[in-house]
């Protein structure tokens, strides 16, 4: 199960990576992730090259390694799963330090760990260098349906408000001596969820009325100019491009 999402990943800055238009960065990261996933797991050199590429991006964006490493905690549940695979995997066994491990299981664990880690690191770098609102506008330029983008915008905008309401309810519960210890306490938690839903929904109704009174007609005006020049696309294409070169280079060697 995933950890809490109590912190945002964005880290403001003014570097080459920060200044790139969001749609270029989004397309670059998605293309990079696809390249990583399509790489056969035996090609160690290619994975090393991908890691170096990401380190280069982090350097260009002046993101300290500690920032990326701390944020990678979201990956932990699947790391645990990956560690378990060699023990429960099928196929040929090999003895390592007195433990009997499955060879295909070791390969699979490496495969998941390497690809997931690279994917998570790429997403963290994307989120760290892109303002959330701009990222969604960039996604809209990449033909994500506008309604979906609007919903995501409202969610981002009110996420902290709703989470704050929930936190206040939790503080109120705990200051009255409540702690959810076993199943019998579920109704209390659930009633909080019900109250939270009513508050969220009613806030949505108020927000909608406020929007109508300001002339909302079904679409939000975009005030930022997000046009990307060919040069910026070229800069963004360097990441997946270099990854593809590494992949093909490794293919040539293999």
């Amino acid at each position: 199960m995933s950890a809490g999402h109590g912190h945002r990943l964005h880290r403001p800055g003014d570097t080459l990576v920060h200044r790139l238009p969001p749609q270029c960065k989004l397309a670059a990261v998605i293309a990079f992730a696809l390249t990583v996933v399509a790489t056969p797991r035996e090609w160690f050199a290619a994975f090393g090259a991908y890691a170096l590429l990401l380190a280069g991006v982090a350097l260009a964006a002046r993101i300290p390694p500690g920032f990326v490493l701390r944020r990678m905690a979201v990956e932990i549940p699947f790391v645990l799963f990956a560690v378990a695979i060699p023990f429960i995997g099928t196929g040929e066994r090999v003895a390592v330090a007195g433990l009997s491990l499955s060879v295909p299981g070791l390969w699979a664990a490496w495969n998941i760990l390497a690809k997931a880690t690279l994917g998570v690191a790429a997403s963290i770098l994307l989120a760290a260098t892109t303002e959330p609102r701009l990222m969604l506008l960039g996604a809209q330029r990449l033909r994500l349906p506008p309604l979906l983008v609007q919903i995501a915008m409202f969610m981002l905008r009110y996420m902290d408000v709703v989470a704050g309401e929930m936190r206040r309810m939790r503080v109120a519960r705990e200051s009255r001596g409540f702690a959810a210890r076993d199943v019998r306490h579920l109704p209390v938690v659930a009633r909080s969820a019900g109250a939270l839903f009513i508050r969220s929904y009613e806030r949505g109704e108020r927000v909608h009325l406020a929007m109508l009174s300001r002339g909302y007609t079904g679409s939000m005006p975009v005030v930022v100019d997000l046009a990307a020049s060919a040069r910026q696309w070229l800069v963004a294409a360097m990441l997946p491009g270099a990854a593809l070169v590494a992949l093909l280079g490794n293919w040539g060697m293999a």
Binding site: L34, G91, N111, S123, L147, A193, S200, H208
Partner: protein, 380 residues
């Protein structure tokens, strides 16, 4: 539960992304019917609510705790279409802004935690509330819906893992591990969902989408003691936008990818290839089929080349997903106040309905008769 990159092979990721895109496209149209022009702010706030609720950890058994998925809860509170949109947006935001769940696995995540939980949850909920009415029935149906939705999601995960997982683990082990934990989590999810729905029903019953049929009509009493039933305002007609180009382009890209790109992932066995192989060698022992997981180099299956199997498999997947979505849409009772359209449809006969049906998305609007389970649209 958020699947990272590299967990499923390329073919499964791409097929799941196509299913998710098709599902979200259907729901984008459907949500306009559920919420009209309020869709963006309301669904946004409900998505924020689902996001917050997913942070609620509850104890499952000694030592372990789970958190809500929220798919069934959202479906009962705001309707299945909006619920799928909310879940999709929550997963999108978690993937892009919190690096939780791989970007290439986004389709898998939306399919498993958005589409499957909402479809399973809403299906069970409708099945129960169709035959039983009343507040208790709705609470009980909420419990059953949430209880079923979590193991259904785990089961779908196991199925995908069987088709195209990259780890050589016995499918039985996966099913047992996923099933066991998720039945427990499902019980917790069911309890919380039932009590949450009960709480909302007690305070604002009008907000519970699943309880719309329960609302008594507004009765106006005049000074002379006479009472009239207030006419309900007809629901504003949504303008369905043509999603066909989007769907066709998506299907085209999918077929292309399934036919061409799946060759690239030669390090791992291709999922559709595996299924075809299982079907081709049904007579053989199952341990062979599972043991061959790590083998990479079978180019063709039963004489059918891979570039044919891939697109055919994706086509079948899309057809099944489309049929399920279509069936779910027809099952749904419309919003209250659809009576005028029904009357019009009845007046002009079947030709209107036929025309509406061909204009994808128009048919269910005709069929709504105030939550009484009217299925006028299906007669066409």
């Amino acid at each position: 539960m958020h699947v990272p990159d590299g967990f499923f092979n390329a073919a499964v990721s791409v097929s799941a992304a196509a299913v998710a895109a098709a599902g979200v496209a259907v729901c984008l149209r459907g949500a306009r019917r559920e919420l009209d022009d309020r869709t963006a702010p309301m669904a946004g706030l409900v998505a924020a609510f689902v996001f917050a609720v997913q942070m609620l950890n509850f104890p499952v058994a000694a030592g372990t705790s789970g958190h809500l998925l929220g798919g069934a809860l959202a479906a009962i509170l705001v309707g299945p279409y909006t619920a799928v949109l909310c879940m999709a947006v929550v997963l999108l935001v978690q993937g892009f802004f919190f690096a939780d769940g791989g970007l290439t696995a986004l389709g898998v995540n939306i399919t498993l935690m958005g589409l499957v939980t909402v479809l399973a949850g809403w299906g069970v909920f409708r099945l129960i509330t169709r035959s039983l009415r009343g507040r208790t029935a709705i609470t009980a149906a909420s419990f059953a819906a949430a209880l079923v939705s979590v193991p259904a999601s785990a089961l779908a995960f196991t199925l995908l893992f069987w088709i195209g997982g990259t780890a050589p683990v016995e499918i039985g082990t996966v099913a047992a591990a996923m099933g066991g934990v998720h039945v427990l989590i499902g019980i917790g999810e069911g309890l919380i969902t039932a009590v949450t729905v009960g709480t909302v029903l007690a305070t604002r019953p009008d907000l519970v989408y699943g309880a719309r049929g329960l609302a008594a009509p507004l009765v106006l009493r005049g000074p002379g003691g006479e009472s009239t039933v207030a006419p309900q305002a007809p629901a504003p007609a949504a303008t369905p936008r043509p999603a066909r180009p989007f769907l066709l382009a998506g299907a085209g890209v999918t077929l292309l990818l399934a036919g061409g790109v799946s060759h690239l992932a030669s390090g791992d066995p291709d999922g559709l290839e595996r299924v075809a192989e299982d079907e081709g060698f049904l007579g053989q022992a199952t341990d062979h089929a599972l043991g061959s997981w790590a083998l990479a180099d079978y180019g063709e299956v039963g004489g059918v080349p891979l570039w044919v199997v891939g697109p055919v498999g994706v086509g079948i997947t899309l057809l099944v997903a489309g049929a399920v979505a279509y069936a779910a849409r027809r099952r749904k009772g419309g919003a209250p106040g659809g009576t005028r359209e029904t009357a019009e449809a009845a007046k002009t006969g079947g030709s209107v309905e036929a025309a509406e049906t061909s204009k994808v998305g128009g048919a269910a609007k005709v069929g709504g008769t105030g939550g009484t389970g009217g299925t006028g649209g299906t007669a066409a």
